[in-house]
Amino acid sequence: MSPPVFGARDDVGADDRALLARHLDGDRDAFGELVHRHRDRLWRVALRTLGDPEDAADAVQDALLSAYRAAASYRGDAAVTTWLHRIVVNACLDLARRRAVRPTVPLEDASPPAVPDDTAARDTANDVVAALRKLPVEQAAALVLVDVEGYPVADAAEMLEVPVGTVKSRCARGRARLAELLGDDRAPTRNPADPVPVQPDERGEEQT
């Protein structure tokens, strides 16, 4: 995982705003540059939320074209990357809801994610990704933003356009379901009394 670089957020945010302003001024390259800065993270969010590379590609493309056209709707009250994530997440939720029923892929039938050829890590990642696909899409999206990508709950709430409490609730439900799906045989690898490693920003948010 590549956690958000919170310390450099202001610089990144200023550059993003400058690129968006250039786009609105008619600079043909500015939006593409903005996309290149964030596309890997947007892709991961879409892929992990939807669980299907084709769906994720469709959602990200639709979202970025919408963002390109509706750039004037960016009001500056959130980071540009938050705005982009919001549009991508909405596209993912829309796509999943249009399909009415999310693909329910049995754990053993899930297509493996592209991960390093480390047997233990690969097996674990496969199980987790397959289990994510079995969650309601709203829970998957919240878990992807908070636990996978490491965004603070408040940022995830902005991206999902729901209250902070709703994000926490979706994460709690999602984690409980994932723990069930992953089964009892996955023994903890550390002392239960040890604190779970979380991003400093996130820990601070959740203690409020």
């Binding site: 590379p53 909405n90 709690a172 690898t189």
Partner: protein, 281 residues
């Protein structure tokens, strides 16, 4: 203590997950004390935390190069931003429909204002969408403006379905010469806290002043007098919002703009935007 179904003495995974998120409210202290002395609940809690740790260690997935190329190509093919709105009236969709084209700009704006004012008033008065706007548009005979104050709740999940339903219902009502209310299927239900026909206070400025609404609309269309297909004073989640459907700049697609009450020439106050391909009449 909220207990699991398999063992009344212990906390369920859901309850433990809530406890970890600080969502247990009044029960938090009792639950924490229970977990402290209960090896079973400690194991379950460890499973939850292990699950969370596993999520945080999923390997990075860079965007595949073919997906990146596809998106780059789509963006490169998109019309320059500055040209998008001015090309709106010249799209195939607008050429093939009776529109405001051909009127002088002033006449077009006047007809649009009249259509919106009469459309809103008429809908509120007798639930017959569009009839007033048809009459008001007069010789221009533009596409009917469906203006309503449904007060219903739009969300990303239902907005396309709802606007299509409203447009379809209005067309049916005009065809049969009577209004055809949407079935009470949940999507068409007005917010119970918001009676049908009354406008939330934050939207009153737009609703009550045709000039204010027109200025808002022109901020979306780069000053072009484009007649909307639907205007609904409603809610976006809990927030009062105006839902506006405009013929899209992409041929064959319509645009949905969700606007806040602050919409003005300086700030369109766009809450949400999407586009859709309307089903054939």
């Amino acid at each position: 203590v909220s207990a699991s179904s398999d063992d009344d003495a212990h906390l369920s995974l859901d309850a433990l997950a809530d406890l970890d998120e600080g969502l247990s409210a009044d029960a938090e202290r009792a639950q924490s004390e229970h977990v402290e002395g209960c090896p079973t609940c400690q194991r379950r809690r460890a499973r939850l935390r292990e699950t969370r740790a596993l999520l945080s260690t999923l390997p990075p997935e860079p965007m595949p190069s073919d997906v990146g190329d596809r998106i780059d190509a789509a963006l490169a093919a998109a019309p320059p931003l500055a040209s998008i709105m001015p090309t709106l009236p010249r799209t195939r969709r607008w050429r093939t429909k009776p529109t405001l084209a051909g009127l002088s700009a002033a006449a077009a704006v006047a007809a649009l204002v009249a259509a919106l004012v009469v459309g809103v008033a008429h809908k509120g008065a007798n639930n017959n969408p569009g009839a007033g706007s048809e009459a008001a548009a007069g010789a221009a005979r533009p596409q009917v403006v469906i203006a309503q104050t449904s007060g219903s709740v739009y969300t990303p999940a239902n907005v396309v379905t709802k606007v299509q339903r409203a447009i379809t219902d209005a067309k049916a009502a005009r065809f049969f010469g009577t209004a055809t209310p949407s079935p009470a299927d949940g999507l068409a239900q007005p917010n119970t806290a918001q009676a049908r026909g009354t406008v939330p206070r934050p939207l009153a400025r737009l609703h009550n002043s045709a000039g204010a609404f027109l200025n808002c609309l022109l901020s979306l269309t780069d000053g072009k007098a484009i007649q909307p297909l639907l205007v609904d004073y409603a809610r976006w989640h809990a927030r009062p919002a105006v839902i506006v459907v405009l013929p899209g700049f992409t041929p064959g697609k319509d645009d949905v703009w969700v606007l806040g009450g602050g919409c003005s020439p300086a700030n369109a106050d766009v809450i949400y935007y999407t586009s859709f391909r309307p089903t054939s009449p």
